[in-house]
């Protein structure tokens, strides 16, 4: 009897927990100005120009979504603003939706007509009308593509310099995309590793894995929304604490998932297909619970909202990308070393290989599975939080990522550890680098096509062991 009580309480526990989390989140959504105040805490985009007239000013807070920015001539020091330049905003199909002329301080504000919500998730091209620039100048960029993921105003900067060597060509672009792709790959690898480990040890194809990713992003956001900043030695470490919290709380969430739902199902002897469908139900349930508490709008963390990129020639790298990459790589190396060299890691791989045999050799299979769930969910949650740092998030970030996670794991070989990582890097780099040749809207299509083609040629995946599968 008390076993059943325990199970019921295990099911109720996460819901209570989510309620707690939800109060933190809904507290944030109750004050719509939270985003704006948070953004003004962030370092101004062009702080080194503070003493000059060429400084990015925020547009007035109003209901409309604006694209605002600045045109500066960088040949002078201090930089001088460039007035009377026409700037256009076009949507993906090339229709003009707004234009503006830069003022005497070089700044411009383009209000986008209509509800901000209708712009979310779309990409817009912001371009400078070359004819209106002063002669003998050449903007380093005339076209910027910006993806609107949040309903806050979007900053853009057009640095203007001497007429340069012209377009740097595909090589620079390829390097730039490789950097973006590597950062994305590391996060994808973290998420895929969890899915692959869980599949390997339990055989479960977990359609709710995307929700573990979103969970991490939401935990970090809840920490971010606590009053005040968390400071260590004068430095604002709120987001670091947030990511760590995402890691730990997601691990706990993974344990609750396993102990409250999947372990009882395994005990009942539920078939894998039945469990797969249960995971679909869990995915729908969790996704809507997230939206219930966190709302549908896209969000950003207060720190790292706007930072100035480092420029190497025409390459731009942000410190944020570097930090995310290093942290992600570190976690990946640590996890794989643990799996490779520790007793527990060996036990995990043994269970993935053959549960019955490893049970016979004295390995506590249920304990290993429990730890795999904790580890896998923690990795996924951390990936979600870091993904939120790099590109913002909404309640279905994990669900949108789920197919790419599947693609990465299947590509590398379902259930293999190295396969998941290799697959994630292939998919991550592929999605970014294909935008060199095909429109960006097809990048996921390309990655999913790769999955199908690989299955045709090598059904067991890149690193999977060849076995007869039907």
């Amino acid at each position: 009897m008390h076993v059943r009580l325990l199970r019921v309480s295990l099911l109720i526990l996460p819901m209570l927990f989510m309620l707690l989390l939800g109060t933190g989140l809904s507290g944030a959504s109750a004050s719509p100005s939270a985003d704006d105040t948070a953004a003004s805490d962030a370092p101004p985009v062009a702080s080194d120009n503070a003493e000059t007239g060429c400084q990015l000013t925020k547009p007035p807070d109003d209901e409309t979504l604006s694209i605002y920015g600045l045109i500066c001539d960088r040949r002078e020091s201090p930089r001088v603003p460039v007035p009377d330049v026409t700037v256009l905003v076009k949507d993906a199909s090339g229709n003009e939706i707004g234009r503006s002329v830069s003022g005497p301080d070089g700044s411009f504000v383009i209000d986008l007509p209509g509800e901000p919500i209708s712009y979310l998730g779309k990409t817009y091209a912001v371009s400078v009308d070359k004819a209106t620039l002063p002669e003998d100048t050449e903007p380093e960029k005339t076209d910027l593509k910006i993806a609107i993921n949040t309903d806050t105003d979007q900053p853009v900067i057009f640095p203007v310099g001497a007429a340069g060597p012209g377009a740097e060509g595909k090589l620079i672009q390829a390097i730039q995309l490789t950097i973006t792709g590597l950062v994305f790959s590391v996060l994808l690898a973290m998420a895929s590793l969890g899915l692959s480990m869980i599949f390997g040890t339990t055989g479960l194809t977990n359609f709710a894995h995307g929700e573990l990713i979103t969970f991490g992003a939401l935990v970090a956001f809840a920490v971010d929304n606590l009053d005040g900043e968390i400071r260590v030695g004068g430095a604002n470490v709120t987001i670091i604490v947030g990511v760590l919290a995402a890691f730990l709380v997601s691990g706990l969430f993974g344990w609750v998932n396993d102990a409250g739902l999947w372990r009882p199902l395994r005990r009942r002897g539920s078939s894998l297909v039945a469990m797969m469908i249960v995971s679909i139900g869990l995915s729908i349930f969790l996704r809507n619970v997230y939206q219930y508490f966190a709302g549908a709008q896209a969000r950003n963390y207060s720190q790292y909202a706007a930072i100035e990129p480092w420029e190497f020639g025409s390459l731009t790298v942000t410190s944020r990308d570097v930090v995310v990459f290093v942290v992600g790589m570190g976690v990946l190396i640590l996890t794989t070393s643990l799996l490779r060299y520790t007793r527990l890691g060996k036990a995990t791989r043994a269970v993935a290989d053959n549960p019955a045999l490893s049970s016979a050799t004295g390995i506590n299979v249920e304990r290993v599975i429990s730890i795999v769930w904790i580890g896998g969910a923690a990795l996924a949650g951390m990936a979600g939080a870091l993904l939120g740092v790099t590109q913002g998030f909404d309640y279905q970030i994990g669900f949108k990522l789920l197919l790419l996670v599947f693609a990465a794991t299947v590509l590398g070989g379902l259930g293999t550890i190295w396969g998941a990582i290799v697959g994630a890097f292939v998919i991550g780099l592929f999605t970014e680098l294909t935008t060199l040749f095909i429109p960006a809207e097809f990048k996921y299509v390309g990655a999913l096509l790769v999955l199908i083609v690989v299955l045709l040629i090598r059904p067991q995946g890149l690193l999977g062991r060849a076995e007869r599968v039907g």
């Binding site: 729908i284 549908a296 599947f406 097809f442 299509v445 999913l448 199908i452 299955l455």
Partner: protein
């Protein structure tokens, strides 16, 4: 709380055009999953290809919708062949992942801005409905006055739709009592045993995939006709998941399972939606706004849907009519 209104509107949904669409989609899944054990998570892709095929023929070339349906059916067969060739030899979970990926490939490609001059991008296509509207023999509102009524157009869609459902059920019933159907069921139970009897399992699976996809195509046609338009958002991944829920409520591997499932599913979804929307509206709502506002109320039905799907699969995987012994679903 206006219970009369709640029951009336829910009944309207449960018998209305939406229920028809999901019944047809679930009949297709029944052939795939219920009878053959194939985990097709890309039913929305089949629906989309067929629906767009029909509409495209009418809007782009100005040809009749009849010819459009033919094109839609041919395209569905082609999609089934393309999907089946790489995956039917693989384990069940591979098929699940590949079909869900394929449905998303189809959706993102058709909805892309690049092809918006052909397929209308995210806005989709309209302006093909007139011939179908002209064929409508009904006028005014139809139904039982005071209990449940539909507009003449909805009633026309329902008439065509439920006729298709009835026809599909007869076809499935005839197929599954034939020797061919018995082979499908035995593939679901033990693939290796069937293979050892000299049957070409992959070929049978492919036939099942095509036939189930064709029922999905009918659902796609009805989706376009019901809304008088077609767009990528009609065919999101969740459509397939809902169709699975419909199938599992009624009971997989039963001819009438999807039909009953669809009626119950849409009655419950609609009743939950109306209940929570009423409970949070008005000056003195039943549930205070600090706990739930109207946006959150609209999510409650999906929260219950997810929970319901989990509990159904755990405690009664055979649904209402299914037979647990017949359906020891394990395709691994």
């Amino acid at each position: 709380m206006d219970f009369h209104n709640l029951l009336t509107l829910s009944l309207q949904q449960a018998l209305g055009p939406t229920a028809v669409i999901y019944a047809l989609a679930a009949i297709g899944l029944n052939v795939h999953f219920g009878y053959t054990g194939l985990l097709n998570f890309g039913q929305a892709g089949f629906m989309m290809v067929a629906g767009y095929g029909m509409v495209f023929v009418a809007t782009e070339w100005g040809l009749s919708l009849w010819l459009g349906t033919l094109v839609g059916l041919v395209l569905t067969v082609i999609l089934a062949l393309l999907l089946g060739l790489p995956t039917l030899r693989l384990r069940a979970d591979y098929l699940a992942i590949v079909t869900i990926a394929a449905a998303e490939i189809v959706r993102q490609t058709i909805g892309a801005a690049k092809f918006s001059d052909k397929f209308g991008g995210q806005d989709g296509l309209t302006g093909f409905i007139q011939p179908f509207r002209d064929a409508n023999p009904f006028s005014g509102t139809k139904g039982i006055p005071g209990v449940v009524t539909w507009s003449a157009f909805d009633f026309w869609v329902m008439t065509v739709g439920w006729l298709l459902v009835a026809l599909s059920c007869v076809v499935v019933w005839l197929l599954m009592r034939s020797p061919w159907g018995r082979v499908l069921k035995s593939i679901r139970e033990d693939e290796d045993a069937v293979r050892s009897l000299g049957k070409n399992v992959t070929s049978y699976k492919m036939q099942a995939l095509i036939i189930g996809g064709l029922f999905g195509a009918l659902a796609g046609f009805m989706t376009a006709l019901r809304s008088a338009s077609i767009g990528p958002s009609f065919f999101a991944t969740d459509v397939t998941f809902f169709a699975y829920t419909v199938l599992l409520i009624g009971g997989a591997a039963r001819v009438l399972g999807p039909v009953v499932g669809s009626i119950i599913f849409w009655f419950l979804i609609s009743a939950l939606g109306i209940f929570f929307s009423q409970a949070t509206s008005g000056t003195d709502p039943l549930i205070p706004a600090s706990i739930m506002d109207s946006t959150q109320a609209s999510l409650m039905r999906f929260i219950f849907l997810g929970l319901g799907l989990m509990l159904l699969m755990i405690f009664r995987p055979q649904g209402i009519f299914g037979d647990r012994r017949e359906l020891a679903i394990d395709a691994r």
